[in-house]
């Protein structure tokens, strides 16, 4: 096969869902830091979200599976720690999808802007942690529903 362009690879990776929050793609999450060809080897640079996140291993497997399925033979996955991942790297599309999915997107203030279900701004924090390392638990005081907030780091 002919060598796919870097832009093409980015598009393919944008179709790979995050294993824990499948409405986000790996590109939406901001963890793909670089895609480059080094001669005939495709190098994909990935940064971890949280250092202990168990999804990291699965993510690497899924990147590999997705690219192999497209015919990439020589692939090198590189890990990059610095600059450390920040939720500022979440794409606009990703933020919108998170909210539609019921997870409040990260806000610089550290608190969600509004309830992802009813839009109320009357909110209370239940816990600083949630079902995955990247989320905290909040509750809406208007519709009384609990919801998750994507932690801002």
């Amino acid at each position: 096969m002919s060598r796919p362009s870097v832009e093409q690879v980015w598009q393919w990776l944008d179709a790979v869902p995050d294993p824990e929050i499948p409405v986000l793609s790996l590109v939406d999450l901001g963890i793909i830091r670089d895609v480059a060809w080094a001669e005939d080897t495709l190098q994909v640079t990935v940064t971890p979200t949280y250092s202990g996140c168990p999804a990291t291993t699965v993510i690497n497997l899924e990147i590999e599976a997705a690219l192999r399925a497209r015919g990439v033979e020589k692939l090198e996955l590189r890990r990059q720690l610095s600059p450390a991942w920040t939720t500022d790297w979440l794409s606009q599309k990703g933020r919108q999808r998170l909210e539609e999915y019921g997870i409040a997107p990260p806000q610089p203030s550290g608190a969600p802007a509004r309830c992802p279900r009813c839009g109320s701004e009357q909110l209370e924090k239940i816990s600083q942690f949630g079902s995955t390392p990247c989320k905290a638990q909040w509750r809406c005081q208007s519709c009384l529903e609990p919801f998750e907030h994507f932690k801002c780091i």
């Binding site: 971890p48 949280y50 250092s51 720690l81 450390a84 816990s127 600083q128 949630g130 638990q137 780091i153």
Partner: protein
């Protein structure tokens, strides 16, 4: 001691602190007072174990004998561990666990802040990564210490008892030895004594808000970070943590 040997010891200290505390905190999984706290403790433990992988993998790389984080975590016995005594102490009640977490988080947040300027780029990048997680940990643990300290008569008494018990283990964080001197000389890590002022300011502010009193007296227990004398508790913890590798050497999946 060469610089590489000192760096190896320093990295073991960083990784063993997070490993041992991570294991301790994970003992709460399924036992915390309420579900939200259970999840928070498990997530904190997960972050600490993740940081352990980074520190101990680098330690193994620096040592150059083919040991990685798993080998260092599971194939060493008590006398080779280099963690502070504070983190190996049993959990006690929820209050004591959170007090220990706060005393450790506060120290780690100050230390990691300094390490982001380390002359060793591999140390600086781990510190940058871990520092973001720890900023979040200290926010949670200080909030809990204030909530329980300035809470009911019962919760206040328990938090004061926890502080009285744990405070004599804080001093070890700031004691310097030959490893620290070498790291400071190389610009890799700060002299531990130089962190005390910032630590005392942070801890003093939170404990004041929590209406708790820091015990008087300068005595402190030591022997963890140089491995000279761990408490009896670490060995018991390791028998559980390392059980699989001891029973089935080399097992993997």
């Amino acid at each position: 001691m060469t610089r590489e040997e000192a760096l190896f010891q320093f990295l073991l200290r960083m990784g063993d602190n997070t490993l041992v505390l991570g294991q301790r905190v994970s003992e709460w999984c399924g036992h915390a007072p309420v579900l939200e706290e259970d999840i928070a403790l498990a997530n904190t433990a997960l972050d600490l174990i993740g940081q352990t992988q980074m520190w101990l993998n680098l330690a193994g790389e620096v040592e150059g004998k083919g040991r990685d984080a798993d080998k260092l975590a599971f194939l060493r016995d008590v006398w080779d561990f280099r963690n502070l005594l504070l983190v190996e102490l049993p959990n006690g009640d929820f209050g004591r666990t959170m007090m220990r977490q706060f005393l450790f988080d506060a120290w780690q947040s100050v230390l990691l802040g300094r390490l982001t300027n380390s002359a060793e780029p591999r140390v600086a990048e781990i510190a940058e990564k871990a520092g973001k997680e720890v900023a979040y940990h200290v926010e949670r643990s200080s909030g809990t210490v204030v909530g329980l300290g300035d809470g009911t008569e019962e919760s206040h008494a328990r938090m004061q008892a926890a502080l009285d018990y744990l405070w004599p283990y804080v001093g070890e964080m700031f004691a310097s030895d030959a490893v620290d001197e070498e790291m400071a000389r190389a610009g890799i890590a700060p002299d531990p004594a130089g962190l005390r002022e910032e630590y005392d300011a942070l801890v003093g502010r939170v404990l004041g808000e929590a209406t708790l009193s820091i015990p008087e007296g300068g005595f402190f227990h030591k022997g963890g970070k140089d491995g000279a004398r761990h408490t009896e508790h670490l060995g018991h913890m390791l028998t559980e943590m390392q059980w699989l590798q001891r029973a089935y050497p080399g097992a993997s999946w």
